[in-house]
């Protein structure tokens, strides 16, 4: 089986520097030697410094009574006031719960269903059937969130297509989207519809790349299909699954924002509001509580980082595969 080549692994093969004092000289020498190469990274570095690192300076507003008219330097320092406010805020507790629940639902279904789909698809070796099914499955990924959510809003309206089906089965006629108890389910299904086929592409490719000799050997040893799937195909695509898991865990709190923002409404805030929509409403969405919003954003960032590092470490331990 082909060994997985990991992003960070090769960079680590640079020989570690033994002595501290020599370090600086080495770097300068290296720069002089390779300056033509180093020039290439300058635009990229500028991009990341301006659009990723400068905003991190802006995190300081989480500790300020920030007023846009006064700017960062003239705003009053309030220390950890907003963080105290976060934890005593009853609404934030709800928001945090919603974020966790929806992120976990998306993470779980967004990983398990595509893998199952890819496994089912790989069993069908008829090309003229296989290809169109796959194309149909990933088409929704290319449809804009605005469009998807508009379709959802239409389908779930009081006299929408889906509502009619529900009513036929005895449910009460209502705007399903305005009922808080359905929002988690709706959000999960919408995300699944959008992303399932596209997420399955990498798994289908990985399944195809599993060494076929292993399958032949297993057949000779009398393994049935189920055993082969369990003992050959799944371990073969495990590195891919783990990578996707780590990636999705790191991003789980920040994705899905578009859909929620387009689908929720004041009547469903109690289940639909998540950290990113809450931050948005508090700040640019009209709330003007920039400091508080930045504090919530920082809180979210810290959790994401911890989750990413943790899941990366765990996957390194459990599956011997880590992202970096």
């Amino acid at each position: 089986m082909e060994e997985k080549v990991l992003a960070g692994e090769r960079t680590e093969s640079i020989p570690p520097k033994e002595k501290k004092p020599k370090k600086e000289n080495k770097f300068i020498k290296d720069f002089k030697q390779n300056w033509r190469l180093h020039i290439i990274i300058l635009p990229v570095l500028a991009f990341f410094i301006i659009f990723s690192y400068f905003p991190m300076i802006g995190i300081i507003t989480a500790f300020l009574d920030y007023r846009p008219t006064r700017g960062i330097f003239k705003s009053e320092w309030v220390g950890f006031k907003y963080f105290g406010q976060i934890f005593s805020d009853a609404q934030f507790a709800l928001v945090f719960r919603n974020t966790c629940v929806m992120a976990c639902l998306n993470l779980f279904f967004g990983l398990v269903i595509p893998v199952i789909f890819a496994l089912l698809l790989s069993e069908v070796k008829i090309k003229w059937l296989n290809r169109p099914i796959q194309i149909c499955s990933y088409l929704p990924n290319f449809v804009a969130a605005v469009v998807v959510c508009n379709i959802v809003i239409n389908f779930l309206a009081t006299n929408g297509v889906v509502t009619n089906i529900f009513v036929a089965f005895g449910a009460e006629r209502e705007n399903i989207l305005s009922d808080p108890k359905y929002f988690w389910g709706i959000n999960t299904v919408v995300n699944l519809w959008q992303g399932m086929g596209y997420a399955a592409i990498v798994f289908t490719a990985a399944i195809q790349n599993v060494n076929q000799d292993l399958h032949e050997a297993a057949v000779l040893d009398g393994a049935n299909r189920w055993q082969r799937m369990w003992h050959i195909t799944l371990p073969g695509i495990l590195p891919m699954i783990v990578t996707m898991l780590v990636l999705k865990t790191g991003l789980m709190f920040s994705t899905g924002f578009d859909n929620i923002l387009l689908l929720y409404m004041p009547s469903t805030y109690e289940t639909a509001d998540v950290i990113s929509t809450y931050t948005y409403r508090m700040s640019l969405g009209g709330g003007n509580q920039y400091g508080f919003s930045a504090a919530v954003g920082l809180f979210q960032s810290v959790i994401s980082t911890v989750l990413l590092v943790l899941s990366n470490w765990l996957s390194g331990k459990l599956a011997k595969t880590s992202l970096f």
Binding site: L6, T11, F48, G58, I59, A144, V146, V147
Partner: protein
């Protein structure tokens, strides 16, 4: 191409299908067809609705497999008359093209650089990787753009999201797979880094770069949120999706029913908007499809 060959070899193994196997395959295929069906059904419904007759569409509230009422292109002619839709279209094209070009260029530079081994590369790769985990968040990013004076200019849409750490890691992996001997040969022939990047490494890592380009295109085509916060006063610069979002509200059912006499043709407009904004990207995606095989995630080569 390569992949198809290996599949052919793999089917060299002959197995006689048992009854259970055939039953499984039949169930499997039905299930898969069902999934495919569910995936395109809403889109089909929208397309059919867009060429329906307005009144018939308003009265029929079930999934449309064929247009409701007579086929009518009234909705299309109404939308064509909306000038903001075409303005939005134009701006979206500008954003898509410039953001993709810039994004691919930056990704290529980053990937090429990180694929080389110098003392600095590791440091810089960590610097770039960190941005994947930690970001300033909505408000600080907004403030940086405001400080730079980019608010309400097209650059606020084009530049910020054009590349990210994941793309660069993907490009890095691709560039590392370029055989060193070719690069050495080019260096001996007096080829500098820029030329090497454009003329040797880039063509050899084309698959991944196309995946990056595709992601940029799709992301920009579908984006509306950045524009809604960065282009608040410059409505002329709004991309199509944001224009659509607003028009969808204007032409929502409840709004149409408010104005008397009710113009039933307006019910079709929402669907027409969806169709004209979605068809281009759906047509473009088979173009990228042959590169899907090259798709790797976060630097893991399948």
């Amino acid at each position: 191409m390569k992949k198809e060959k290996s599949v052919k070899i793999s089917t060299g193994m002959v197995e006689h299908p048992s009854v259970g196997r055939i039953v499984f395959l039949v169930v499997d295929i039905i299930l898969l067809l069902g999934i495919a069906f569910v995936c395109i059904l809403p889109l089909w419904h929208v397309i059919m609705a867009s060429i329906s007759d307005g009144y018939a569409l308003y009265t029929t509230k079930s999934l449309l497999f064929v247009p409701a009422g007579k086929i009518s292109f009234e909705g299309f002619s109404k939308v064509i008359a909306l000038s903001q839709v075409w303005k939005g279209y134009g701006m979206t094209l500008v954003y898509v093209v410039s953001s993709t070009v810039l994004g691919v260029f930056l990704t290529m530079c980053g990937g090429y650089y990180l694929s080389k081994k110098t003392l600095w590369t590791k440091f810089i790769s960590i610097l770039i990787l960190l941005t994947m985990m930690f970001n300033g968040g909505l408000v600080p990013t907004y403030m940086v753009l405001r400080t730079l004076g980019l608010l309400n200019t097209p650059f606020a849409i084009i530049i910020p999201g054009c590349t990210n750490a994941i793309y660069i890691m993907m490009a890095m992996t691709a560039f590392r797979n370029v055989p060193p001997s070719i690069e050495e040969a080019a260096t001996l022939d007096g080829c500098g880094h820029w030329r090497m990047m454009f003329q040797i490494s880039f063509p050899m890592a084309k698959g991944i770069m196309m995946v990056v380009a595709m992601n940029c295109v799709v992301m920009q085509w579908n984006s509306w949120f950045p524009a809604s916060i960065y282009l608040t006063t410059a409505r002329d610069l709004w991309p199509l999706q944001l224009v659509m979002k607003e028009l969808m509200n204007t032409y929502s059912e409840s709004n149409i029913l408010k104005t008397l006499p009710i113009d039933f043709d307006k019910f079709v407009i929402q669907y027409v908007l969806i169709v004209i904004s979605t068809i281009p990207i759906l047509i473009a995606c088979p173009f990228f499809q042959r590169y899907f095989g090259d798709m790797t995630v976060g630097g893991v080569k399948e």
